[in-house]
Structures are given as structure tokens and as C-alpha cells.
């Protein structure tokens, strides 16, 4: 390490010590892997698992702010940046929570893309590429999940590489990945298209490898991405039902056929693996709580009952109970568990897609009633939908079957819904007339302050080399 000791002769004593002990200066870091080690074939599975870790962390944190803006969560704690979100101020780049969560999403996208590139390199260069095909498919799936979450929850995004800043998607020139793996991202729709393409490529890998479970998971995720792609376009207007395209409907049918029942693609969390920020904030810290339009709480703000009733047969909504039981890691009235499964896609969502498509007049998807009742059958409802209001029925069932899955705010936008003041809530918990959610329907999360200050395309400072 010491290769240029130029000490004058007068410092011989000191320099003798230096040169004689230079080996002491070579100190390795045993705590972490260096870059070269990560790119070795032996680390391939770890790289892909790492991508899953980051995607799980990002999903479990990024969807919380939109959930607070929506009527899924409301603020009961001490940190009033949640209160600002509760009031609909979703576009504030300085909001501490969106700002804290944004890096998670950025890192999830980067790491999953990195996993794709590393695995692609192994496939191209390894003497035994078969060892890496399934992991390559998983990497593609996780990249799709990261991009899907980005497209669903963000109004804008950047894609940088280490110290090289990337332009925002809104500039029209965003690109994900390094040379040879570059994916143009000219708008947020293209981000979702890239997610869908990533899932499609993953499905191809899984089919070729006979990985039917993974194929189902990737299909379910592509179904959600396809659905969200069309909802994205509907956020800024008030509509009724969306006529989902054939690809989405095809995926929904596949999910129901291959997954069936109460199939769910869940991201899992534990003390030994990934932390779920949203779960911790709600169930442990109680900074936010399930909205009072859905549940009731006691004097300690713990959930003690269901408020939302089944619109068809009455009574506490069973689908909501089922989803909240998962959310609490047991019974929805239990004390909090901060490591719960979060559902990303499901057979329930497939039913909802088909039902909505039917309501929109898409042919070949069965009737709205059949699809809704198939959905209700999962929770054992004996009272079927018959003639109730189609849109209201769809809205209710989407709400309870996809609660806390990152979909509600977009639904509220596209249907022109707003949070309602509920007894006991602070009047400030509804959207303020001047808020982004109220004034600019469709507003999702911004590129936040930490990125704005660091990225030369956003902070006004010259970019390296130009």
C-alpha cells in the first residue's frame, strides 16, 4: 500500500517504522462483500435474493403514504408529516416520510436491475448457464415488481447509476440500466410497460424451466401491472368501469385457473429478514391506524371492531376481516404484529378485474354478478349480489379485497371519491381544499427532496461532463 514513501533522510527512524510495518495497513472489511465478490457466480442467488429484499422493503414502505392520503389509514401519532398526507398534500417533496421512503424504491429498482444484469452476464459467460436461468427469471420478476410499484405510486422518477445521475422520467429522456441493458423510460406509462415486459420475460423463463409456481406468481403480477397501466390513464378523470385489455383478462383467467381459491402473491417480512415499515407504523408505533370508515377503535386507538358493513347482506364485511386478519398476523383485534404478509396480487384481484371488465361491457368475461359472487364465495358469503348498484358494488369490493395493497388511492382518483369525516377523527384528516389530492386528481408521490438535492438534473448544478 505504501508505494511512495519519500521521507527525507532525517526522518529515517520514523520511516523505518512505516516501511517495516506496511502490512499492518492492509485491513480488509469482513463485514461486507466487495463489488468483485458480488459479481462472482457463487453470489448469483444472493444477488437475486437481495433484489427481493429491496423490493419487499420498498413495497412495504412506499405504499403507506398513498394509503394515508386515501381512506385506508389515518394519522393518530406525533409526526405531523403524516397529518399533511392525511390532508391530501401528497406532492410535497419535503414530506419526511415520502422523502425517507423514496430511497427504498430507488434502491429496489437499481438492485433488481443490477440482479438482472449480473445474472444476464452469468448466462452469457458461464460454463454452466443452466445454473442461473431460474434466478434470472426471479430477477426479472423482482425488477418488474419494482418498476410496477414505481409506476403505480410515483408521479415521476429518476434512474441513476452509482455516481452518474439520471434524468427524471418527466424529462422524456430517462433510461434504466447500464450500457447493453438500457431501457428507455420516457414517461411513467413506459415504466409500467417495462414492468409488464419484465414480467413477460420472467414468465418465459419460468415456462421454459417448468417453474409453474413462479410462472403463476409472475402472471399474477403482470395481471396487476396491466390493470394498473389502464388505471393510471384513468386517474385524472372520473369514470365508472374500465374495459381491461385482453392481456390483463387473459392473465386474470390464468390466475384463477392455476391459482384459484384464495391464491395470493404475498411479500413476507420478519425480524430476521425484511422490515415492513408500514406494518410497524400502524401495528407497533401506532403513528397511523386503519381508517375509521373501515374499523372502530377503543380509547387506546386499538382496533376493536369493524365499521364497514357488507353492502349486500349487511354485517361486518367478511373480506375486510379476512384481509385485516392477515394484516394483523392473526385476528384483526390482536395487538400489533409488525411483520406481516403484504398481498401484491391475488385471485381476488383477478375476480375484480373480470367483474369490472364485465361491467364495462367486455365480452367473454362472464357477467358482473357471476364474477362478484365468485369473489364473495371466497369469504363464504351466502348472500349474493343481484341488482345493487354496479359501480358502488365494484368500488366496495375492490376496497375491501385490496385493502393496504397500494391500489386504493388510484381507485379514489378514478372514481372521484374523497375521504369522509368520520366521528372522532380530526376534521383535518380529510383532503384540504388546497391539497394536491383535491386540486390535482391523480397526483401521486413526487421525486423527493433527497433526490432533488443530489441529482444534477434536478438541483440546477452542472452534471459531470456537461
Amino acid at each position: 500500500m505504501i508505494n511512495r514513501i519519500k521521507a527525507p533522510a532525517a526522518a529515517v527512524a520514523g520511516m523505518l517504522v512505516l516501511s517495516g510495518c506496511s502490512g499492518l495497513l492492509d485491513v480488509d472489511n469482513p463485514n461486507n462483500l466487495v463489488e468483485e465478490a458480488v459479481r462472482q457466480e457463487a453470489a448469483a442467488n444472493g444477488v437475486v435474493n437481495g433484489a427481493l429484499w429491496h423490493v419487499s422493503e420498498a413495497f412495504g414502505s412506499v405504499i403507506e403514504a398513498p394509503a394515508v392520503v386515501s381512506d385506508e389509514l389515518y394519522w393518530i401519532g406525533s409526526r405531523d408529516a403524516w397529518g399533511a398526507l392525511d390532508q391530501g398534500f401528497i406532492s410535497d417533496p419535503a414530506n419526511e416520510f415520502t422523502d425517507a421512503n423514496f430511497p427504498n424504491l430507488g434502491q429496489a429498482v437499481w438492485m433488481s436491475q443490477n440482479a438482472v444484469e449480473v445474472l444476464a452476464g452469468h448466462l452469457a459467460n458461464s460454463a454452466d448457464p443452466d445454473n442461473f436461468r431460474v434466478d434470472y427469471g426471479r430477477a426479472l420478476m423482482f425488477r418488474g415488481l419494482a418498476l410496477m410499484t414505481t409506476a403505480e405510486q410515483q408521479s415521476d422518477m429518476t434512474f441513476s447509476y452509482k455516481t452518474v445521475d439520471g434524468p427524471p422520467v418527466s424529462s422524456g429522456s430517462a433510461v434504466l440500466g447500464q450500457e447493453g441493458f438500457e431501457i428507455p423510460m420516457p414517461n411513467m406509462g413506459a415504466v409500467m410497460d417495462a414492468a409488464i415486459a419484465s414480467f413477460t420475460e420472467a414468465i418465459g423463463v419460468f415456462v421454459a424451466e417448468g417453474e409453474t409456481d413462479l410462472e403463476l406468481d409472475a402472471t399474477a403480477l403482470r395481471m396487476r401491472a396491466g390493470m394498473s397501466r389502464q388505471i393510471m390513464d384513468a386517474r385524472g378523470t372520473v369514470g365508472t368501469a374500465i374495459a381491461y385489455n385482453a392481456a390483463v383478462i387473459g392473465d386474470a383467467n390464468t390466475v384463477l385457473a392455476d391459482g384459484g381459491g384464495d391464491y395470493r402473491y404475498n411479500l413476507s417480512y420478519s425480524a430476521a429478514s425484511t422490515d415492513c415499515n408500514m406494518c410497524g407504523n400502524v401495528n407497533n408505533r401506532k403513528e397511523n391506524q386503519i381508517d375509521l370508515s373501515l374499523v372502530t377503535v377503543d380509547a387506546s386507538n386499538d382496533v376493536d371492531g369493524i365499521n364497514l358493513q357488507d353492502p349486500i347482506g349487511g354485517g361486518d364485511d367478511l373480506a375486510l376481516i379476512a384481509m385485516l386478519n392477515q394484516w394483523k398476523g392473526g385476528s384483526y383485534t390482536d395487538s400489533g404484529n409488525q411483520y406481516n404478509d403484504l398481498t401484491v396480487s391475488s385471485a381476488r384481484l383477478a375476480h375484480l378485474i373480470l367483474a369490472e371488465a364485465a361491467a364495462a361491457g367486455v365480452a367473454g368475461v362472464g357477467t358482473f354478478a357471476d364474477n362478484i359472487n365468485n369473489l364473495r364465495a371466497i369469504d363464504g358469503y351466502t348472500t349474493d349480489y343481484t341488482t345493487e348498484d354496479v359501480v358502488a358494488t365494484l368500488q366496495h369490493h375492490r376496497r375491501v379485497n385490496t385493502v393496504l395493497q397500494g391500489l386504493r388511492l388510484s381507485d379514489m382518483y378514478r372514481w372521484g371519491l374523497e375521504p369522509e369525516t368520520t366521528a372522532g377523527t380530526d376534521p383535518a384528516a380529510v383532503w384540504a381544499p388546497a391539497s394536491d389530492a383535491f386540486l390535482r386528481r391523480g397526483s401521486m408521490l413526487p421525486v423527493t427532496l433527497i433526490e432533488v438535492r443530489a441529482n444534477c438534473y434536478l438541483n440546477g448544478l452542472p452534471c459531470a461532463g456537461g
Binding site: 495497513l25 422523502d99 443530489a454
Partner: protein, 1104 residues
Amino acid sequence: MTSTTSARLTSGMLRGGLVLALAAMLGWSPAPVAAQATGTLVGTVRDAASQRPLEAVQVYIGGTGIGALTNSSGRFLLLNVPAGEHDLVAELVGYRAGNSTVTVGAGESVVADFAMQQTAITLDQIVVTGSGIATEKRKLGNSISTLDAATLADAPIINFSQMIAGREPGVVSLPSSGYTGEGARIRIRGSASLSQLNEPIIFVDGIRVNRDAVDANNGQGNPSRLDDIPPESIERVEILKGAAAATLYGTEASNGVIQIFTKRGQSGAPRFTAQGDWSGIAVPTNRIDPVADFIGRDCDEVDCSGADDAATIAEIQGRMQDRFGVSPGAFENFENDLVPEAFNTGFAQTYSASASGGSEAFQYFISGRYQSEDGPYNLDQNFQEDPNLEASNDENRRAGFTSNFTITPNQKIRIGVSTLYSDMAHQTPDNGNNIYGAFSSMLMTQLRRATTQGDLGTFGSNYYGNPAFATSRENMYQLNTVKSSHFAGSTTVGFTPSDAFRLDGTFGLDFTSDDAVAFRPYAWNVDGFSGSTPEGNRNVEEYRTREITADIKGSYISQFGANIENTILFGGQGFLRQNQRAGGSGDTFPGPGLETLSALANDGTFESWTRVTQLGGYIQDQVGINDWVFITLGGRWDANSAFGEDFSTVFYPKVSASLVPSQGLDWNSELISTLRFRGAIGQSGLQPDAFAKFTTYQPRPSEQGPGVGPDNLGNNALKPEVSTEWEIGAEAGLFNDRWSIDATYWDRTVSDAMVSRQFSVTGGFTQEQLVNIGELVGKGVEVSLRGTAIQSDGLTLNVFANTAYLNETITDLGGAPPLKAGGSYPRYRNFLVEGYTPGAFFGSQTIADLAIPLNILSPNTDGTCNIPSEARALAYFDQPRSPSEFKPLAYGNSDFGTPSGEAASNNCGSGLLDTYMGKPTPDFAGSFGFNMSFLQNFELNTLFEYKQGIQNQDLSGMFRRANAVIGRNTPRAAELGATMANPASTAQQRLDAAVSWANEVEGLAPMSGMNGIYDASLIRFRELSLTYRVPSDLVEGWGLSTATLNVGARNLHMWVFGDYTGMDPETNVIGRCNSGLSCNFLNSTEGWSIPIPRRFTLSTRVTF
């Protein structure tokens, strides 16, 4: 070397067993006494004014090597004095040398007493730190401070942090919190780094020692490793203030160097000292606002017009009657002074003892100390005890042992062996910016929610009306404990083969071991309120550090003619620091009584390891001309394992000059009796973090198997940041040295400053990365004045005052964006911004000149804020309103600077949070006080510390005033809130209240900094002590040499001259800490700390 210089050299440095060794080095071989007729010299040395006996006075016979130190009674004994006439000299730092001619006859015992006159200037004081070898201060061009522990023996101090507080200009000891055992952060001349810890490096008897905080699992209440060193074992402390002085320490020395010298034994009969201290500790609560509330805040409708509101009001009124005996009407304010119920009077006791003595060839000093303190936090006094749970407390117990042995086998070799061992048990309640903090929950109580205390185990009891997270009673059942041990051992071997040549080697090990536990027992939520890990959790961390020092140096002194003395110094050093952490955490015990990690249902583990190796060599040459002109040249080379692969070694040069015209010229002025000029320029550095050069990936265990993810971006070009500092100064002794003034101007530039740059977080690596791109400049003036104002029979009054002016500016961040202390948490407002003081406050500020600074209307079509007219505002406030429904209008500022004048709020305008609001470091800081001796046996000491030109953020006060859920409980917030919510108020009254709310109360995100950052200039009455020395004729009858009684007090009173609103501006939301941007720059932010308590101490000390 001239004989004068030689004599002075012995006077300060040669203590006890060092006498013979150094005397040998300097050519003063003791005469073969056995062959001569000899006598004995005995005497007592006293302060001429107070007649106080003086300890540790060097009494010697010039040119003989015969000498001794006075004991605590001021007595000395010189044996084997050759018969004849001798010049007897007595020297002590702070006193003019005493001379006496004595004639000793064979077999006689001659008495020679001294009465020494105090002097205010100490140019002849001997120092070691930074100069390599024992050198008189007058020869050094750089400033160096020395604290003589003997002068602080009667001060009301219990640890090292208190020992150095307020003693030297430019040396700041930040107390951080009022929790028992909390250490102090030490800063010398501000901040010399933007990213690395700004604590000075610490040496004890020549070896590097751990300077960490002992992490007690909380933001506050963390002890300092420096307080492991018992004050009673310290002889003196030398402080190098910056790069110009610390060059020879090389990398890591930019923030200065503190070297502690422990006491050494003296040859002679064993001498014993024993001391006991007993303290009462009380928290000043005079600046804590009472808790206030109004009934009606819980109504469904703001104006309590909802269907169930009457019932709600009645229910609360009934509860208030039961709990507080009051029944306020709706919208009527009521108050209660609840917060002080968290305290009682704490108690501390310290017992220490030491023994010293030895022969000419072997001397020893050993000491032991036991200290225990039960602080004033005592929340559990308000609750029925739960026999199954242990309530938290603020306790600290330390036991320590030190030893020093000096062996002089022959005249050429001296061996010193020093050891220090300290054992500590520490407990602190959950504290700081923490929703589960025990004291913070008391500050966040809400009267209307309070219930009578239910029986133990009665769920639903909320005695203090905690609105969220946990009740105060639940919070006090969280335990945070640390058990810690610290060992430091060193061996120094000195070899003097000739009069001129000397070699020294110092080798040592410093080892610390901490076991920290944060523990929530099963069913800790005794009130059934908290939903956080109700089945308990546990966090265990074991932390071990090792610091190894190897230091070899040599010196050679030569004379060129009669007038030039040349001293060359050279050496090599190696340091190895290794830290290991391991532990685990998890939650959910299956049942009560379990307290181990293995009993948890969910748990995880961690382990980490770091090592830094530093190797360096140095050389220095000092030329003395006519004993009054001194020029020093030197430099140091360093290599360090933390430097990047693209970087090898670094060289730090220095040069200094000292001129003492009052010594070298024909100088007969009584007005300016002593005069010295000095100047120095030098460099030192700070290394990067241990592994900052590596691009690394960290373990990321997924649910589908082990994984990795990006960790450190890495920078192979990392090199040390380099401080270049120059200073000029002058010292003058006035009126025959009865007064002195010392002034220094210094100027520092830190180039290649390591900036923790945040790169684009979508680039994969979200952690900040060190890059050598910054520049930080600082300059300051330090002035100290001391002297004797009154000196008469029976009364001496010495006064002192010092001040340090500090100006620091970040001149370059290398294109990196502004950095913020405290991460993304928006309520911490300390930033690193080009052009501003490090850690400057930026935030939002209400537009003061706007009649109605309220954002109550939708923005204009261009997005700018719509400023309401009075008519529109009155219309808006025509109905009751909650403060949550509107926000103030603030000054806009888009570029971290002065306000643009544009109105901004949370939904319109821009630059809401970027207005400069002040700086967290004072323009001027210092101390003043006096020492008065009277009635022969009494002494009164005072110390006042002050800060001027400093802003503080009252964060806990902001919460209390503004937070909708856990705040709005100050009298003013309750008053304004009630006015706005009351349907009986007029629109004008509500509008006026809303404007006042904007200008006085509103704060926190998204208006962070607003109504929370104020001028916090202050004076604190830090120390007061009254000492009575029992007359010697009395104590001798008891078999003692001396006996002293002392009553003292710390932190008696604080005067805050600014408009600061908080409880105690000297506390900080982060207490003693170890690393990171926040540890450096999250300053002057008060957050839920117990105010620094007053301590009243009774002490007694005896020697025999």
C-alpha cells in the same frame, strides 16, 4: 543548555521519581553522599497571602540534584544535604520562584520555610504534549494550555468532563443533558471537520485511549469514557488546541489533543489521602411551563355542537373533578404543574483514597475511587409499585483503580508503569426524542385525558393523560442498562546514554468492554395502553474496543557556542484501533420472567468489526538563541489503513517562533513585567472512516434466502482532510506579574475536507459517501485575563476572565448538495450549507410584517399563496376553527439564504424551509470568576460560564405548543386554541388568536423551525465552593497532616438573556455521542432532556 534553563526544567517536570532520572540525563549526578558529612533541610511552603500550605512545590538545591516535593501540608524534607551553604529554591506553577540561602551543618536539621508570591503568568511551566520532550512553554510558538489539578482540588467537580469545563478559552465542554452519568462532548476551537468526529484525541500518560461515549441505548444519558479517569488521580492536563500545535500527532489530530498525566509517587514515607463527597441533586423546574388544557378539544365538532358533544364534555368534567379536583367549563383553560412530579432530590456519594511514596529508585502512587449516584428522575414515586416489574431509574456507579510505578534501576534508565481500571454500571430511563421516553411523556401529557390512578393492573388507567403511544407508567418499565469496564495500561522506558541524548519508548493498551441492554419485560404495558411489543422485547449489544499505542522517540540537545542551543527530536508512532460489536434484538417473550434473547419469538443478530492502523514518523528541530528567541521546525509523515488505494502517505509540516523580549533584552518595566510574542503555523489531519474506501454490499437476508444489497459506494481516492492553522499571540505579565493577559488569534483552513456527499439515491447506493471536496475555514480570538485584585494580610482576591470568539464558515462543498443533520427528520434544522456556519439553522419563519400571515385560502392560479384580506379572514373565522385547519404564511426562500419576501406555505410558494435562522455555536463563549482566600483558612471559589450570540431550537417546546396529537398543552397554546374553537368567540377574537398562533405557537413539520429557534445567550453560575482548612495544630492532634471541609454547588443559577423559550438551552437532543453528522452538528437543539440539575456537595478530605 544554560544552567538557568536546566534549573527551570527540573522545576516543573521532575516530580517524585523522575528527579533522579532526568537529573542524570542533564548531567546532575548525585554526589556520593555517603562519603560526606550531611545534614537535613525541612520546611513548610505557604501561599504568602493566605498562608495556605502549598502542595507539590518543587524544593531543590541548585546544582546538586537534591530535591523533593512538598506534601499536602506544604512540608518538605531534604535528606543527606552536604554540609555548607546552599541556594534553596522553591518552585510551583502559578507562583514566583522562592530563593533562600541556607547553611547546613553536619548532622543538623535546618528549618527553611517559604512564603510564595502568586504570579499570574506561567511561561516557565514545563509541557510535553506536542513538543515531544519536556519543554518550557516560553519556547513554544504555539499555544498550549495546562490545567493543574491541584488548583481544582476544592472545586465541586466529580468527573473529568466537569474538570475541564470553563477553564480554558476555546475549550468547550457541552454537558448535553441533565441525566445522571451523562458525559460531555468536548470541542476545541469549534469544528475542524465536516464529517469526522470533532472530539479531540485523548492520551493518558502517553497512550491513546478510547474517547467514545458509552452507548446507553438512548439519545441522552450516555456516559463518557473520559469520565472513567478519576479526577483525584490526575496531576495535570495539557491541551493542544489545533493543527499548529498538534502537527506531531498527525492524522486524527485536527480537533486538538488532550493529554492527561496521572499522579506519580514521591520518594519518602507513605502518604495517604482520603476524601468523601456527598451531594444532593435537584432539577430546576422554574423554566418548565405548567401543563394546560381546555375542555372541548375532544368534541366531534370544533365548536362542540355535535350530537354527543355535551356528553363528552360532561364526562371530561367529571374526570377532571376526580383527578384534579377542578371542573372547568367548556373552553375554559385550566393548568396543573404536573411535570415536576417526575423528580425528587437525587443523591450522590464518592469515596476516594490514595497512597504514595517510595524510595529514590522506586516510587508508587495508587488510588481507588467509588462513586454512586441516584439521580433526581424518580417517576415511580407517583405510582403503586408493581412487584413483578422493575421501574427505570437514572443511576450511575463507578469504581476505579489507578496505579503508577516509577522504577529507576540506574542513572540511565527509568521505567514507568501506569494502569487504570474502571468498572461502571449505568442505568437511564428511555429519553430523548422518543415517543416512549419517560420524561418526554410527562411533557406531553394532556390534562383532559388524565384519569385517577387505577389499582395496579387496572387497564385503562392513564394517570398523566398521555394521548398516544404509551402511558408514563408504562414508559417507566422500560429498562436501559450498561455494564462497562475500561482498562488502560502503559509502560514507558527512558534511556539516557549521555547528557545530551535521550530515548523514550511508550507502549500501551487501552481496552473497553460494554454490555448494553434495552429491555421491555413481558406485559410492560401495565395500563393496557401501548400496543408496541406488549409481550416485551430485548436488545443486547456487546461492544469491545482496543487501542494499541507504540511510540518511540529520541532527542538530542547540543550547544553551538555560548548562545545557541539546538534540540532535535525524532520518532515513530503506531496506533491500532479495533472495534467489535455483536448482539441481537427481538420481541415477544412467551411469558413473564424471561429476560434473554433466546426466549424471544422473533429475534435477529448482528456482528461487525472495524480496524484502523496508523503509522507515522516525525522530526523536529528547535533552536534557542540567547535563551529568548526560539524557532521550531518540524514535520510528520503518516500512513493510514483508511486512506484510499490511490493514496499513500501524507506529510504535515510545522514551524513556530517564540520571542521573550522581557527575558532577553534589558527589561525593567514594572508595568509590563513579562512579555512574549509567539506565532506558529502547522498542519494536521483527519482520516476517513475505517472502510469508506471500499465499494461494498451488505447482507440482506430475504424470505427466500440470504441476499446482499448495496451498502457503501466507496472511494479509492480518499485521503485525509488537512487542517492548516496559523496563530499569533502574545502574553504579558503586568504589575510585577500580578496580572497577566494572554491573547491569541488563530486562523484555520481545512482543505480536502471530507464531505459526506449524498449521491442520487436512485443510483443504488443510498448511503452518503465521503469525498474530499470541501473546505472549511475558521478563525477566532482567545483572550484570558487573570490577576490578583486584592492582596493583604488575611485576604487575597484573585480574579479571572476569558473569552473565545469563534467564526466558522463552510466555503466549499464541492458541488455537493447541502447536508442536513438528523437525516430526513424534518424537525432537526441544522444544515451544512456553503457560506454558513456548520450546523446553521435553516427553517421556516412567519412573515412578521404581514398583518394576517395565514394560509386560509386556495392558492392563486400561478401557485403562489393567496394572502387574505381582513374581510376574507374574518369571514373564514366566522365559525370556530381548529389550528389544524390552517397554516401560517412563511418567508419563501429557494436557495438556502435570506428570505426572498415571497409568501410560502405548505401548499403554495417555494423554499418554505430554507430561511437562515441562526447558528448553534456562540460568537463568544468563556468564563469568569474569582478565588478569594480569607481568614487564613477559608477559600471561596466561583466560576461562571457564558455564551453570547447563539441560537437554540426549543424542539420539545415546539412539540408542547404545536403538535396536534401529543402537544398543544402549554398555557398559551391552550388559551389560543380555546379561543378559536369557542363558539362564543367573535370572528375578530378568533382571527387575533390565529395570528398569535402563527406568530408564537405554530411549528414542527411542515413549518419546521417556525417559532422554535431563539437567541439563547446565557450566563450560568457553574461553580461555587467554600473551603475550610482545619488549622494544622488541630489536625495534628488527630494524627492527620491536613483536613479540609468543603461545601460546593454546581449550576446554581442560569440567566438567559435572549428570548429562548426552552427549559435549558445547554441540553441537547443528542447527548454524548460517538460519530456521524448529527454528533457533530445537531447542536443547540433542546429535546426532552431533564434540565441540568443543581448539585450541592459536602466534601471532606484528609491526608496523613
